[in-house]
Symmetry: C2
Subunit: 220 residues, 2 copies
């Protein structure tokens, strides 16, 4: 019977990848600890082990950085996570804001073959239910040029591509508003005072705060 070897390591890799590709440039021990919700002592210990395994580098200024090898591994996990999310939403009818924790478990299943078959079964989706692109089997990631809805041109039809914020609160907010990835929107009017906007959505006009609009990423 088999163990989930380096199951934790996978969480470190994924989290590190997300931090490096998020707002933060330099990831230090504290930042990683907070993101993983683990004790800094724990994280330091693990990071050192991962450095031995050539998955991360500890720079002179204490920055923790993924190596190419580590980044590749991280992308494999993200690939698995996102494909399982598609499965959960498309096949098991979960809502997009319900799938994260389950995908978190499923992403650790070890089998490249399984993932290839799953991908084919799902019809080679290019994005997950949150609109985030799914890396290919080599870890390549297609980037989609998106912009916040708050910056979108007025009176142009745009499509919801992904979200800048995947917090549960925001996902629920969008769910209540009925907004999903792939929906068409059109900015009707922007309020100069607070940046809130009137937006056409499914033939009706809704109002979004600047906060909400800046977290909805769209393609023109």
């Amino acid at each position: 019977m088999q163990h989930f070897t380096h199951h934790s390591e996978e969480n470190y890799l994924k989290t590190l990848y997300k931090l490096e590709n998020g707002k933060v440039k330099k990831v230090n021990n504290i930042a990683l600890s907070k993101a993983l919700e683990l004790n800094p002592a724990t994280v330091l210990e693990m990071v050192r082990k991962m450095a031995e395994r050539q998955l991360v580098e500890l720079l002179a200024d204490k920055t923790i950085q993924l190596t190419d090898k580590g980044r590749k591994k991280a992308l494999q996990i993200i690939r698995k996570h996102r494909l399982w999310e598609v499965f959960l939403v498309d096949k098991l009818n979960y809502k997009w804001n319900e799938v994260h924790d389950l995908a978190e478990q499923l992403e650790h299943i070890e089998s490249d073959d399984l993932i290839q078959r799953l991908e084919a079964f799902l019809g080679f989706p290019s994005v997950d239910p949150h609109g985030d692109p799914i890396p290919d089997e080599h870890g390549k990631l297609k980037k989609i040029k998106t912009q916040p809805l708050s910056d979108a041109p007025i009176k142009k039809k745009v499509t919801v591509a992904s979200l800048a914020n995947s917090s549960n609160e925001f996902l629920k907010y969008l769910d209540k508003a009925g907004i999903s990835i792939g929906d068409k929107l059109e900015v009707l009017e922007v309020e100069a005072f607070d940046g809130s906007m009137k937006v056409l959505h499914k033939k009706s006009s809704i109002t979004l705060s600047n906060e909400a609009a800046s977290n909805i990423l769209v393609v023109v």
Copy 2:
């Protein structure tokens, strides 16, 4: 991020259940150790912990026995295992002899809701790809009255229901012979000398050893 707490325990429960419901009546430490491929010291330690958790009982004669609580848990795991096997075969086109190790991983995913949805998605199958019945959500198991093909009446059409032996060798053997769960068979002739038999299968006559025939379970 979440741990697979008591992941091992689930393997103990499942293995114990299978031993108790197999040929062996009394399961001792050695038998369980062998089945789990673990050191007896390890198994003893774990069994004692599981006894504290009321999952097993250690009888006076050293027999290890599942409690009702333990059996219920074991059946939940078997349920998950078998449903995932159906998924792998029906949806991802795996062969029935390829799915065991993957299902072994998937069965540890923690979510009752996921399993219910998976079951619905698969169309509420009653048996797994090996013909073994899938326990319902309460752990109830429909028993099918099967008999070894070697005991089947002559010149009666019977249906392959399950296998008494799920070893990889046997599964491959059946795969080569083209015999699957649900296939119709008819015993044409039994050789008194060695118990081998001529069997009608898909309009052609094949010969099976007594060894093979006694591991193929059929319903009349």
